[in-house]
């Protein structure tokens, strides 16, 4: 994919017009109101007074993308990161579509992979136009000019112009067809651990997340939602709620009630005082046991869709010296971002404003237009910093709800969900059931591998027409069909079974599930063959030098062969997803009670060209721990149609006192940059499960890890 296909060149630069952004923080949360046509788009905006604003096509939710995308633009524009202000892109897929998705969406570790070339080209084009404008002013050839830190120099005469001085005339020049990009050796910003541009405001409380938005005349609402998904409001007695001082309104939609207050606490008190009767609908009897039984039935009877078939699978299974089978099971997961769900909406007869942090601004805008009946261009979405995404804010269900409530009132309405609602009314990572078989030859070498996944499809919640029966959803098999290994024969297939639970992507997407299964089962095979798990993997990696290199690096750095105490163990995982290669070793100690203590974690990563090594390390550190937290503690379960977990007491997360040291090794590479946000999370659970096997001899085939399976009486 070239940048030219994905970016309209007319929009690369809009210069010369004074763009007024509220405030002076370098990284603004909101697309602050800009005046003039320059507000309409583009990636580079330079005002007459020399202020440089770079428009961020991806949303900042902690992954450091503002710093990384600004680095791509700034590198070629030839400005320093401390000279620029990053602003969130408005919803406009024609300008800001993620080239890999062809829609404006932040997720799947695609941002740098998709924008690597387009953003550098945008910066280079803008620079070239600014130089041309200065050269015109001086009556010299552009080749005689150079740029540095936002200025243009004519070295033979010592003349200097700032970018702001020529922005207006630059904007009238033709946009270069093929702006020359720097060679990697010329990079001044890319490849260095530049300071993050979004963090200064995050350490002094001044960063503005969606939940912090304050609009004149705004009221704040708390909601109560049908406790069972699919249920409907039957009746509500709001007499007591309306008596509470500070309560302004009680609003209804078909599956929820909002109490509006002068402040959130009045609204909360109003919610407590409501007496609501629900028609719980078709899912009222849903339990985790019933869901699991249905999944198992589908796995037995469903029609598999083939994702990959290579080699003579059946013959090899028959002739194998040793045959192994295993069944793995993964739970529904909530995202549990630190910032609870919230949206602020103001609907007027002639327009609608939405203040929110979303990974899919265009979808949110479209929903609002549909619900309000307003034309799309009358719906303004002000995107904000996000207090943790992990996939939750890919879906706009919560924004739809807010618009449906806000439609009923003339004032701006902010809706904040309680933590319990954030968890119980999440759209969940699917549950999965995986059945695997493998054949080994006389020497224990892998001869054949089959992997069948049964799960729902997340895609049906993203594609407007759902997802057709009989069509493979690649997400369900990602990480399974494209493992790093040269299996002599392999079959990967998927049985679709959509559970009566709404689904969403979750950090690591398809590979978080499949790599756990693949890497755990491969570990089983290594032990069955009586071989070291790393040596066993190496034998399958001759044709994959990048995977081999990260595996070797992690083995070395983790001291793979160093002896450990009894009931301690090391486990490894390896994968190649999102254009990145990652190997992780986790050390654990398992008490006789079954309690698990994490030991040292070591990661080795080859993500191609490193845009910002420190942010890469941070993503791997956090990503691995995020995955371990889920594997250790998390599974969403249902009883009487209700989600049983609700807050951090019963949907608990890893805490600092449970966090071991973590070491990240980055391998130098000149390959194109890979994705990072998902990578560590994908590595985590299999490395942990394999370490637990090494420590206890118990194979973890179901998540979250059941400690009772790991306990051992002292005298046994």
């Amino acid at each position: 994919m070239t940048g030219r296909m994905s970016i309209s060149r007319r929009e690369l630069i809009v210069g010369g017009l004074v763009v007024a952004f509220a405030g002076s923080a370098r990284a603004r949360a909101a697309t602050a109101d800009a005046t003039g046509p320059s507000a309409l788009g583009g990636f580079v905006r330079i005002s007459r007074d020399g202020r440089i604003s770079l428009v961020m096509p991806s949303v900042e939710m902690g992954q450091g993308i503002y710093t990384a995308e600004a680095a791509l633009l700034a590198e070629e524009l030839d400005v320093r990161l401390d000279q620029i202000e990053a602003i969130a892109a408005a919803p406009d897929a024609s300008l800001y579509a993620q080239p890999l998705f062809k829609t404006q969406m932040t997720g799947g570790s695609t941002s740098i992979r998709g924008f690597w070339t387009p953003l550098r080209e945008a910066g280079a084009a803008a620079r070239s136009m600014l130089v041309a404008a200065a050269a015109q002013t001086w009556g010299v050839h552009p080749d005689e000019c150079s740029t540095k830190d936002g200025t243009i120099l004519h070295s033979s005469t010592g003349r200097v112009l700032g970018y702001g001085d020529v922005a207006e005339s630059a904007a009238t020049l033709p946009i270069p067809e093929d702006p020359k990009l720097k060679l990697p050796g010329e990079f001044k910003i890319i490849g260095k651990s530049q300071r993050r541009i979004d963090t200064p405001s995050k350490v002094n409380g001044s960063a503005v997340y969606g939940i912090d938005v304050a609009v004149d005349g705004m009221k704040i609402a708390a909601v109560v939602i049908s406790p069972v998904d699919g249920g409907k409001l039957k009746s509500v007695d709001e007499t007591d709620a309306r008596k509470i001082p500070g309560v302004i309104d009680v609003l209804h939609i078909d599956d929820a009630v909002a109490v509006v207050g002068e402040h959130y606490w009045a609204a909360r008190a109003g919610i407590e005082a409501l007496n609501v009767d629900w028609d719980l609908g078709p899912n009222a009897k849903l339990t985790t046991a019933s869901i699991r039984a249905e999944v198992a039935k589908a796995a037995d009877d469903g029609t598999p869709l083939n994702a990959l078939e290579r080699g003579d699978v059946e013959a090899r299974l028959k002739s194998a010296a040793k045959r192994l089978t295993a069944e793995y099971e993964l739970p529904f997961l909530a995202h549990a971002t630190m910032e609870p769900i919230n949206t602020t909406v103001h609907i007027r007869p002639d327009g609608c404003d939405i203040w929110v942090g979303t990974q899919t601004p265009v979808v949110a805008q479209k929903h609002a237009a549909r619900i309000t009946g307003l034309p799309l261009d009358k719906v303004t979405l002000h995107n904000h910093l996000i207090g943790g995404g992990f996939g939750r804010r890919l879906q706009a269900d919560t924004i739809e709800q807010a618009v449906r409530f806000a439609k009923q009132v003339p004032y701006p309405l902010k809706i904040i969900w309680m933590r319990e609602q954030d968890i119980r009314h999440d759209r969940f990572r699917p549950c999965y059931l995986d059945r695997l078989a493998a054949g080994l030859d006389e020497q224990g070498r892998l001869s054949v591998w089959t992997h069948r996944t049964t799960s729902g499809t997340v895609r049906r919640y993203f594609d407007e027409d759902g997802w057709p029966e009989g069509k493979l959803d690649k997400d369900a098999v990602d990480g399974a069909w494209d493992s790093p290994y040269a299996f002599p024969a392999i079959r990967v297939d998927w049985i679709r079974h959509d559970p009566p639970v709404k689904l969403n992507w979750w950090r690591g997407v398809g590979p978080t599930h499949n790599v756990f299964v693949v890497e755990s089962f491969l570990d089983e095979l290594a032990h069955a063959a009586g071989q070291d798990p790393i040596a066993y993997r190496r034998a399958l990696l001759d044709a994959n030098p990048r995977a081999m290199a990260v595996l070797n690096k992690v083995a070395d750095a983790a001291g793979w062969n160093r002896p450990l105490q009894p009931r301690s163990g090391r486990g490894v995982s390896l994968h190649q997803n999102f254009g990145t290669y990652a190997a992780v070793v986790v050390e654990v100690a398992v008490a006789l009670s079954g309690e698990i203590s994490l030991g040292k974690i070591v990661a080795a990563v080859d993500c191609g060209i490193q845009v910002n090594p420190d942010i890469i390390r941070a993503q791997i550190e956090g990503g691995v721990l995020f995955g371990l937290s889920a594997a250790l503690f998390n599974g969403i379960t249902f009883s009487d149609g209700r989600v049983e977990q609700g807050n951090f007491n019963d949907y608990r997360q890893l805490r600092i006192n449970e966090t071991p040291p973590i070491e990240v090794h980055l391998l130098e590479s000149s390959e194109k940059p890979g994705g990072l946000g998902e990578v560590g999370t994908v590595s985590a659970a299999p490395a942990l499960g394999n370490a637990i096997f090494a420590a206890t001899g118990v194979r973890v085939r179901r998540l979250p890890i059941d400690r009772s399976l790991l306990s051992k009486r002292e005298n046994s």
Partner: protein, 150 residues
Amino acid sequence: MISLNINGRDFAVQAPDDMPLLWVLRDLLNLKGTKFGCGIAQCGACTVHVDGRPVRSCMLPAASIGSRKVTTIEAIGQTESGRRIQQAWLELEVVQCGYCQSGQIMSAAALIERNPAPDDAEIDAAMAGNICRCATYARIRAAIKSASRR
């Protein structure tokens, strides 16, 4: 009326007796740096100082504070400990999404205020009430040590 001293200034607010300090700060005084995370004192995102001690403002009725002095993230940089923690947070690039970090910084500043050189166990004990879903814990530990050495 509830009288409160916040960040060295006196305020009088009209609020129900059970209204937690968190919502008084956020919705009545427009001090939005203190965050709502869980509402049940499980995550620490709402941590503020009351007379220098870290407390979870989501469950603390504002009416119960009396004359004690409240400090929030907006003013913690004016204390020596707070300034050093904020600086270390930036130098070690602790922050990712940042939503929990107001609370983390308030807990950390209180820690080094009373214990100028905490070890790992003391850091863990003081910080275990603050959840970070981006899991920036290793850097939090390193940054507290860095700040305490200054």
